[in-house]
C-alpha cells in the first residue's frame, strides 16, 4: 500500500467530517472509520489516541455547555439543565471527533515512517524537511503514548487525578510531554543530519496502486457518494 493513499484518505475523511453537518452523515463516517481505526489501532497498542479523544470530548462537553445550552430542556439533573441544542451539538461534534480519531488510527497503524517520507516526497512533492517532520511527528505518537502512561502513574502517586480534568491539570500533564518531545525531536534532527539528511535528494519512484490502495480509494469514494446523496436529499 502506498502511504500517500492512506495520507490522502485520512486527510479526506477529516475534511468530510468537518464539512458534514447532519447526524446521519457523521454517524456513517464515524461508524466506518471509527470501527476500522479502533480495530487496527488497538492491535498496534495505540491507546494514547483514544485517551486524546476522551480529553477532546471533555472540551467538547464544556464548549457545548457554555455556548450551545439553549432550546427545550431535555435532561434536568439536580438543578442542572441540559437543553436540546446542547445534546445535538455535543453529539455532532463527538461523532466528528470520532471519525477523525478513526482516520488517524487507520493512518498511524498502516504507515511506516521511512516509506511515508519517500511517499510524501515522491508522490505529493512535499519538501524533504516537511516530509521528515510529519513522519517523525507520527512516529513519536507511539512514544508519547508511553510517556503519557508514566505521567499518569506519577500524578496519582503525587495526589493528583489520573486524567487531567481542569485547565491547570491539563497543563501539568502537557508540560512533561512537550518537554520530552521537544528534546527528542531536537536530537533526532541532529542524528538525521549526521546521517546525511542534508544531502538527501527527492526519491523518484513509479509505484503502482495495489489492491489495498484500491480498497481504500473505493471506501473513500463510497463515503463521499453517501454524504453527497444525503446532503442533496437523495436518500
Amino acid at each position: 500500500m502506498r502511504p500517500s493513499t492512506v495520507f490522502i484518505y485520512g486527510l479526506g475523511i477529516t475534511l468530510l467530517a468537518f464539512l458534514s453537518r447532519d447526524f446521519t452523515s457523521l454517524l456513517i463516517l464515524s461508524v466506518i472509520n471509527g470501527s476500522i481505526g479502533l480495530y487496527l489501532g488497538l492491535r498496534r497498542g495505540l491507546k494514547f489516541f483514544i485517551l486524546l479523544f476522551f480529553i477532546g470530548l471533555i472540551g467538547v462537553f464544556i464548549n457545548a455547555l457554555l455556548f450551545a445550552n439553549y432550546g427545550e430542556p431535555i435532561i434536568i439533573f439536580d438543578g442542572f439543565v441540559l437543553r436540546e441544542m446542547f445534546i445535538s451539538s455535543f453529539i455532532l461534534v463527538a461523532l466528528r471527533l470520532f471519525s477523525i480519531l478513526g482516520a488517524a488510527l487507520i493512518f498511524t497503524s498502516l504507515v511506516n515512517t521511512r516509506e511515508f517520507i519517500r511517499s510524501l516526497e515522491a508522490e505529493l512533492y512535499l519538501p524533504k524537511d516537511i516530509a521528515f517532520a510529519t513522519s517523525i511527528g507520527i512516529r513519536m505518537l507511539n512514544i508519547l503514548s508511553r510517556d503519557s502512561e508514566e505521567i499518569r502513574h506519577i500524578r496519582v502517586m503525587r495526589g493528583k487525578s489520573r486524567y487531567p480534568l481542569t485547565p491547570s491539570s491539563f497543563l501539568s500533564y502537557l508540560r512533561p510531554l512537550l518537554s520530552l518531545s521537544i528534546e527528542r525531536a531536537r536530537w533526532i534532527g541532529i542524528a538525521a543530519e549526521m546521517r546525511g539528511f542534508g544531502r538527501r535528494k527527492r526519491s523518484v519512484r513509479k509505484g503502482r496502486l495495489d489492491r489495498l490502495d484500491m480498497i481504500l480509494i473505493i471506501l473513500f469514494l463510497i463515503q463521499i457518494i453517501i454524504i453527497v446523496a444525503i446532503s442533496l436529499g437523495l436518500t
Binding site: 488497538l42 497498542g45 491507546k47 511506516n112 515512517t113 521511512r114 516509506e115 519517500r118 517523525i136 512516529r139 507511539n142 512514544i143 508511553r146 510517556d147 508514566e150 505521567i151 502513574h153 506519577i154 500524578r155 496519582v156 502517586m157 503525587r158 495526589g159 493528583k160 497543563l171 501539568s172 508540560r175 512533561p176 518537554s179 520530552l180 528534546e183 527528542r184 536530537w187 533526532i188 534532527g189 541532529i190 542524528a191 538525521a192 543530519e193 549526521m194 546521517r195 546525511g196 539528511f197 542534508g198 544531502r199 538527501r200 535528494k201 526519491s203
Partner: protein, 490 residues
C-alpha cells in the same frame, strides 16, 4: 596535504552554545587514521560539547560557536559548505538511542542513512541486510524498534552510523543505560570495528571499559584538555589511580561491603505475583514470591528488559498483579497493594516524568511541610537560585536531584528508585550513595532496581537477581563473582 587527508586535527580556542560563555577551551590534539582515542572526564566537563564542536554540529545546527580550526581527513566541518560532506566521513552514535532512532524498524533505520546518501535501491537492501546480520540484528530486522532491548538499540545506532563505511566513528557515552551484559557485547563489537581499521573516538566517563581498547586517553576537566595518556607507556594500575583521582570511573574492580543482616519487621509480602501487559501475550513478571523488611536496602539486579522496572511499579501500586498478591504491612495494618499509596514513592529513571508544577518553587512548596522545605533549602543552596525556573529548564543532573528532593519532601516510608545511578560519574555516585545512606539512617526502606554493579557499595540487606521475569535471592559474593567473570580480562 596527504598527511591532512589521513589525520584529524583539532585546535579549539573556545566553543560554547552562547557567545562569551565558553564550555570548552584550549583543546588541541590530533588523531591518526586507525587510532582509538578515549575522551574521558567527569560529568559536565564538556565532553559532549567537544563532540558537537568537532563534528560541526555546534556551530552549524545548534547556533553555538567554535573558535578554532578543525580538519577531519581534510574536511573542515566548521564550514557550512563542507559540513554537508561530514556524514560520508564520520559516523556519530549519540548517547541516548531513544533520541537517535527515528524509523519504524531496524531495516528502515539503516536504510534511511543509505537513502540520504544517495545509494541505489539494490545497494540499500544488500548493505542494510549485511550490517544488521553482522551486528546481530538479522532476526529483528522488521520488528518495531520500540521493542528492542537497550543493547540492541545501541547496536542499531552503530549499524546505522557505519553502514556506509565512514572513516571515523564517534561514540558518545556508548555504555550509558546498558547493563553489564550489554556493555560486554558492545565492547566486542567495538573491538571488531577497531580490528577492521576504523578510527574511533569514544567519549565515556566510565573509562574502565575502554582502557584496553584505546591507544590514547584524553582527560577533559572543566572544559579544558588536562592530560593525554599514551596507554602503552603507562602502567595500568597507575592509569587507573590517576584517572580515579580526577573523578573518572577507571577501575573494573567491584567494591562491596557485603550483606548487612536485616533486623526489621516484614514490610512487603509478594505472594506468587505474575504480571502481563494487556497488549502482550507473555508475562513480564512470573510467579514471584519474596519478602522485604522494614528499614532495609534491597537491590533488584538484572539485565535491561528483565522485568525490574515492572516489578518496582508493582511494588509502587502502579500496576495490579495479573495473578498473586502484594501486601504492604505498615503501622499494624496490612494493605493489599493495587494502587499507589502515600507511603510509597517511586522515582523514575527519567526525571521529567516526576514534575507536575510550572516552577521549582511550586514543586518544593507543594510537596512537603514548610519547615522541611526551609531545611532543604538551607542544605541545598543551588536550589534557592532556581526557585522561579521551570523544572524543565534545569540541567539533566539538576532535574534528577530535584526529583530526589521532591521524594524526600513527601517523606514516604518506602523509596523505590529505578536505575538511579544511570549517567552518574564517580563523584556524583558517591554523593548519591551518601544521600541514600542518610535516608536509611532515618529508618526508611530503600528498594532499587538497577543493573549497575557500583551500587553494591551500599550497605545492602538483600539482593534479588531478576531475569526473564523471574526473581531469585542471591548472595552478594555470587553477584560480584558473576560481574567479575563477565569482565575478566576486560
Amino acid at each position: 596535504m596527504d598527511n591532512t587527508r589521513n589525520s584529524i586535527y583539532i585546535d579549539i580556542g573556545e566553543a560554547g552554545y552562547t557567545g562569551g560563555e565558553p564550555v570548552i577551551k584550549n583543546i588541541k590534539f590530533s588523531v591518526k587514521r586507525g587510532e582509538s582515542i578515549l575522551i574521558t572526564g567527569p560529568s559536565g566537563s564538556g565532553k559532549t560539547t567537544l563532540i558537537l564542536a568537532l563534528t560541526g554540529v555546534l556551530n552549524n545546527l545548534l547556533e553555538g560557536y567554535v573558535d578554532g580550526n578543525i580538519s577531519i581527513f581534510g574536511i573542515n566541518p566548521l564550514d557550512p559548505q563542507e559540513f554537508t560532506s561530514i556524514p560520508e566521513t564520520i559516523g556519530v552514535v549519540l548517547q541516548d538511542p531513544e533520541k537517535q532512532l527515528s524509523m519504524s524498524t531496524p531495516y528502515d533505520e539503516v536504510a534511511f542513512t543509505l537513502e540520504n546518501l544517495g545509494y541505489s535501491s539494490n545497494d540499500i537492501d544488500r548493505l542494510t541486510r549485511e550490517i544488521l546480520n553482522w551486528m546481530g540484528l538479522g532476526n529483528k530486522m522488521f520488528i518495531d524498534s520500540l521493542y528492542l532491548s537497550g543493547g540492541e538499540k545501541k547496536r542499531l545506532c552503530i549499524a546505522s552510523s557505519i553502514v556506509h563505511k565512514p572513516r571515523l566513528l564517534i561514540l558518545d557515552e556508548p555504555t550509558a543505560n546498558l547493563d553489564p551484559w550489554g556493555v560486554k557485547e558492545l565492547l566486542e563489537y567495538i573491538e571488531l570495528l577497531k580490528s577492521r581499521g576504523y578510527t574511533l573516538i569514544i567519549v565515556e566517563h566510565k573509562a574502565k571499559y575502554f582502557l584496553n581498547l584505546s591507544d590514547r586517553i584524553l582527560l577533559i576537566k572543566d572544559g579544558e584538555l588536562k592530560k593525554i595518556y599514551q596507554v602503552k607507556n603507562v602502567k595500568p594500575h597507575d592509569l587507573e589511580n590517576d584517572l580515579a583521582n580526577e573523578g573518572v570511573d577507571a577501575s573494573c574492580k567491584i567494591q562491596s561491603k557485603g550483606v548487612v543482616k536485616s533486623g526489621g519487621e516484614v514490610l512487603y509480602t509478594v505472594d506468587g505475583v505474575s504480571f502481563r501487559y494487556s497488549d502482550k501475550d507473555e508475562e513480564v513478571i512470573s510467579n514471584v514470591t519474596l519478602e522485604i523488611y522494614k528499614g532495609d536496602v534491597v537491590l533488584f539486579m538484572g539485565p535491561n528488559g528483565s522485568g525490574k522496572t515492572t516489578l518496582l511499579k508493582l511494588l509502587a501500586g502502579f500496576y495490579k498483579p495479573t495473578r498473586g498478591k502484594i501486601t504492604l504491612h505498615l503501622d499494624g495494618r496490612s494493605i493489599s497493594l493495587t494502587r499507589p499509596t502515600r507511603e510509597v514513592f517511586y522515582i523514575s529513571q527519567e526525571p521529567d516524568y516526576m514534575f507536575i508544577y510550572g516552577s521549582v518553587k511550586d514543586e518544593l512548596w507543594k510537596s512537603g511541610a514548610e519547615q522541611d522545605v526551609i531545611r532543604l533549602l538551607e542544605e541545598v543552596p543551588w536550589l534557592r537560585n532556581l526557585m522561579d525556573e521551570s523544572p524543565y529548564n534545569l540541567s539533566h543532573g539538576q532535574r534528577r536531584w530535584l526529583a530526589y528532593y521532591i521524594a524526600r519532601l513527601y517523606n514516604p516510608d518506602i523509596y523505590l528508585f529505578d536505575e538511579p545511578s544511570a549517567g552518574l560519574d564517580l563523584n556524583l555516585l558517591r554523593r548519591f550513595l551518601t544521600w541514600i545512606m542518610s535516608i536509611r539512617e532515618k529508618g526508611k526502606t530503600i528498594i532499587i532496581a538497577t543493573h549497575d554493579p557500583r551500587l553494591l557499595q551500599l550497605d545492602i540487606n538483600s539482593i534479588f537477581l531478576v531475569k526473564d521475569g523471574r526473581v531469585e535471592k542471591k548472595d552478594v559474593k555470587d553477584v560480584i563473582g558473576m560481574m567479575n567473570q563477565l569482565f575478566r580480562g576486560g
